[in-house]
Amino acid sequence: MTGLWGLWAAVAFWVVAWALNVRLANSAYRQARAVRIGVPVLFGVAILVLWEGIVTGFGVSPVILPAPSAIAAKFAASTETLWLDFSQTVLKGALSGFLIGAGAAFATALAVDRSPFLQRGLLPIGNFVAALPIVGIAPILVNWFGFDWQSKAAVVVAMVFFPILVNTVQGLKEAGRMQLDLMRTYAASYPQTLLKLRLPAAMPFIFNGLRVATTLALIGAIVAEYFGSPTRGMGFRISTEVGRLGLDMVWAEITVAALAGSVFYGLVAMLEKRVAFWHPSQRE
């Protein structure tokens, strides 16, 4: 019976939170930073409360859907394991692969920069490959590079390479006719034009690629672990805990993945704000 009361309380909380959000979003303060952050946070909290209410209210088995409180408890109890998995998957696999892949893509874009012929060949192919399910290559790379993080990094490299390459090549073409003519009237050299005009102009595009790549990097690192890994890592943990019906642990890992993904994305977005501050999409 108490469970049902909890459910009603959760629904009531949801209604109140939504009403508050409606008031806030249509108030004079809607442009304020606190409101712009507060409204989605309140929305998120309301969903969690509703989730908690439904699970306890209907007595949903934790084997199907654990309550947020149970997930939080599990999270707190297993920080050590979670950190171990996080460093294996995110720090070793995703991050190193991301850096290598971005570096390689950037270097390739610069290498073909002086050949419009190669660019015209590379762009459509790169665009096509970037849209393919490259994750599928994971078992092959695990086979080639072994079970540890190196194979995960290799999968990540394969996944992030093309989006970053295509965006960088596209970005390096962004400098306008007139801007290039201006550099010509200064008798600027190729490296000068590249450094002072074309690279800065390409930055919004490059960051576009980098932002897409952050998500891909985590997907790649986790999927690769399903095909073999040492006895740690987020993908490993998720697949074994699903098998043991330890769903609270799975959700705890998902929370880590969500946090890691958001922080990673946020960092790249922050860097973009500093580097490409001048682009209309960054100005308000």
Binding site: R184, T185, Y186, L197, P280
Partner: protein, 264 residues
Amino acid sequence: MNILGQNAVIDAKNLCLTFQTADGPVHALKDVSLKIGKGEFVSFIGPSGCGKTTLLRAIAALEEPTGGSLTVNGMTPDEARRNRAYGYVFQAAGLYPWRTIAGNVKLPLEIMGFDRAEQERRVENVLELVELQGFGKKFPWQLSGGMQQRASIARALAFDADILLMDEPFGALDEIVRDHLNEQLLALWARTGKTIGFVTHSIPEAVYLSTRIVVMSPRPGRIADVIDSPLPAERPLGIRDTAEFIDIAHRVREGLRAGHGHEV
């Protein structure tokens, strides 16, 4: 004409320039001969397709002539470009949004390898010249269109080339701003004594600014008439209401009309 052939800053003889396009060849310039002396302010006026911009770009070595000869400061245009003989102002300000106004003006100085102190000094100088002192730390998008165009002129002046080539620099601005900038440009020309080539499609602007007006006509692009302006060096905006001014404007208009006659 008071210009001697020997000390012409820009000298074009029978200049031809043909573009190859999908619809066949386009004669952008045909048999253009013109001498511009030091310190002159020469306007190029004509309907679109008359080759006025192409001529300016050929002088700047941004286009390759297909016939005739063209020298700038006694050199080929490309040599002149490598010697940084001219500053070029485009139709749009084209400032780099990631650089401040001062940073934009500094751009050519960085490329040409001026030392840091000299860069600072010159930036301050030219910003004052175009009345933008105090705006150096602003970003281009924080300035009005007229101010942006002034900054782009400052950028062209920064490395102190003797020649200033301007391709419809005020074409996108409203008339009030344009009048003001025309006045400023004349003052600047008087102070610096630069040789200026100025492309425009506004008759009053051409007459108000120039010592000489080159009227061009299209298909093929060629010079239809060259009009010397008898207007005094000192030109307040009110000069545009004088009979003399109106008379020159009338001659320019006649020249443009005659040029069009070939087409029909």
